[in-house]
């Protein structure tokens, strides 16, 4: 009886031990059969890292976000699976999410590289184009009256262009592009306006050259002196015997660019005149003065036409009392439309001129392509 029960117990013991071993083997085998998705998630991680390195967060944010969301979901799913018994784990969803994340990350990287390349090209050409415009405007601005609106509007542009270059240099392509888009139109408009001002102004160039020749010839034929005031060059040229005798620096009206339209516009008139009165002493407040016959017949005709066309108000006055006088040398265009010389130069000019001396006031004797030595 005793022997029988002992045998029975041994059998039970061996069966129990065998069961434990079998169970442990099953668990261990299930671990080895279900390979964790480590490799695929590593690949995803590397793809995301590469996309981040190419600044996909900035240049392809939506695709990168999609990749990161899928990655986070895959990791969360893996965590949930790892909490389960190895037998019940299922890595299928994790693998699918990881693949989707890798795909999105690769696309994000490609898109970021492409967008950066395109942006770089756009910014570089944008900067070149803006620089051309700003440089052109700067050259024109320097030759325009101090208070011309072109100058006022060009300063914010040139500051912004500097900012764009700074942003581009430190790799902030989006800021640079945004700023280019902001100022591109106003820069183009200002450049166009500058070109129009110059084109319009120099449309009379051939007439100015003809007037200069006329003065030269007059001095040769009549034996006297004739004067030419070159507004752009700020020079008063004295011709005698068909040759340039003297040349003086002059200062002009504040709004010297363009012809005089009416009284108070502070513009220096353009045209052919003659000295009508020589003033000195108490007769002038500007040391010495040579009054010219502004307005002449041509000025009156033009003024009336402009009035008729409504370009100037009906109550406007043509103005007058345009002189070549002393008191200059201020280093700025400051008169109400007269031509000012330094007193010492005025002495010389006053001595050379007499009543009847012809005076031509012209915009420029230098062609615009030489004055504005820049490519349009």
């Amino acid at each position: 009886m005793n022997r029988k029960s002992g045998r029975k117990k041994r059998v039970v013991l061996w069966v129990s031990l065998s069961l434990i071993v079998v169970l442990l083997s099953i668990v261990a085998l299930s671990f080895s059969f279900r390979k964790p998705p480590t490799a695929i998630l590593e690949e995803t991680r590397k793809s995301i890292a590469l996309a981040v390195k190419e600044e996909a967060g900035i240049y392809s944010p939506q695709l990168l976000l999609k990749a990161e969301e899928s990655w986070n979901e895959a990791m969360a799913e893996w965590k949930i699976n790892n909490q389960k018994s190895a037998i019940f784990r299922d890595y299928g969803k994790i693998i699918s999410l990881a693949k989707s994340a890798t795909e999105s990350a690769k696309k994000a990287k490609e898109e970021a590289v492409k967008i950066k390349k395109e942006l770089t090209e756009e910014i570089e050409s944008g900067i070149v184009s803006l620089k051309k415009s700003v440089e052109y405007i700067a050259v024109v601005k320097d030759k325009l009256p101090n208070n011309h609106s072109i100058r006022k509007r060009s300063t914010p542009l040139s500051i912004k262009l500097d900012e764009i270059e700074q942003a581009y240099r430190r790799g902030d392509l989006l800021s640079a592009k945004k700023s280019i888009d902001e100022i591109k139109k106003s820069a183009e408009r200002l450049r166009r306006e500058s070109e129009e001002i110059i084109d319009e102004y120099f449309s009379s160039y051939s007439r100015w050259v003809a007037l200069d020749n006329e003065m030269r010839i007059w001095s040769k034929n009549n034996g006297g002196v004739s004067l030419v005031v070159d507004k752009f060059a700020r020079k008063c040229i004295v011709y005698k015997g068909g040759k340039k005798l003297r040349e003086f620096d002059v200062e002009l009206g504040v709004n010297w660019l363009g012809d005089k339209m009416q009284r108070g516009d502070k513009a220096t008139p353009e045209g052919k005149y003659k000295i009508t009165v020589k003033k000195s002493g108490r007769n002038t407040i500007y040391y010495k003065a040579l009054l010219i016959n502004f307005p002449n017949d041509e000025d009156r005709r033009r003024f009336n036409q402009m009035k008729a066309d409504g370009l100037i108000s009906r109550g406007a006055h043509i103005g007058g009392a345009i002189e070549i006088h002393g008191g200059g040398g201020k280093g700025i265009d400051w008169t109400d439309g007269c031509v000012a010389l330094e007193n010492r130069d005025m002495d010389s000019l006053y001595a050379l001129c007499s009543v009847g001396t012809p005076v031509a006031i012209v915009g420029s004797l230098t062609p615009p392509e030489k004055l504005f030595d820049i490519k349009r």
Binding site: N2, G6, K9, R10, V12, L13, S16, L17, V27, A28, F31, R34, P36, T38, L41, E42, R45, I48, A49, V52, K53, W71, M75, W78, K79, N81, N82, A86, R89, N146, N147, H148, R151, K152, T155, P156, S158, I159, K160, L161, D162, E163, Q166, A167, R170, D172, S175, D249, E251, V254, K266, G329, K330, G331, I332, D333, W334, T335, D336, E342
Partner: protein, 224 residues
């Protein structure tokens, strides 16, 4: 029954009384083997998940974002964030293994290293920010001085009948620069030092150009 004989003192007593000596010896051997196994399990269960280190590393990365390390030292920040991602993969990889073969030692070391590296990165970010802030402040001070110089030169600049009106355009430029100073101060207050730096450098260049222009105009008058 077997478990009763196996685990309890009373079981042992019963076994001594009723079971044969050879069986008792076998049970005793099995007991030793079981406890040895239990010891192995106990030792291996020491490979606990380094939760504290994980939390610390995650918090460190978040705090680095807080000091804008991702903006000022983006490459270094991205490398550390990627290292943390790699560690997270390694953690789950270990968790996927049979509990007896898990090992978090290397992971714990890596997490500690990440947390420590992030602290270094934060310090360097603060240094970089301070450097940019100082540069912006220095350039801004130069800009403010230049604006004052420009104003003083403008007062000395040649004027005609129109007085100051003749130099209205230059005054307008100075006003634009003063508006820039206000914008720069706002950017600095908002902590956007990089944009502030761009604006300060550009405005300073303009202020210098105006100074040059005015100085030339004044010297031209003096020469005459």
């Amino acid at each position: 029954m077997l478990a009763y004989l196996f685990f309890t003192r009373f079981g042992t007593h019963i076994a001594n009384k009723y079971v044969r000596t050879s069986t008792i010896k076998f049970i005793s051997k099995m007991k030793k083997l079981f406890f040895a196994l239990l010891l192995v399990v106990a030792v291996s269960s020491c490979a606990k998940l380094p939760q504290a280190e994980i939390d610390a590393a995650n918090a460190a990365i978040e705090s680095a974002k807080g000091v804008e390390a991702n903006r000022y030292l983006a490459e270094e920040f991205n490398a550390l964030a990627d290292s943390l991602n790699a560690v997270n993969v390694a953690i789950e990889d270990q968790k996927s293994k049979f509990f007896l073969s898990r090992d978090y030692k290397a992971i714990t070391e890596k997490l500690t290293m990440i947390a420590s590296d992030v602290e270094g990165l934060k310090a360097r970010t603060e240094e970089r920010k301070a450097q940019v802030r100082t540069e912006v402040q220095d350039t801004l001070n130069v800009l403010i001085s230049l604006i004052e110089e420009d104003k003083a030169l403008l007062a000395k600049a040649p004027k005609g009948k129109e007085g100051k009106a003749a130099l209205e355009a230059i005054q307008n430029d100075i006003t634009v620069l003063e508006a820039s100073v206000t914008e720069i101060n706002t950017l600095v207050t908002n902590g956007d030092y990089l944009t502030a730096q761009d604006k300060t450098t550009a405005s300073k260049a303009k202020a210098e150009a105006i100074k040059e222009e005015l100085t030339a105009a004044i010297s031209k008058t003096r020469r005459r």
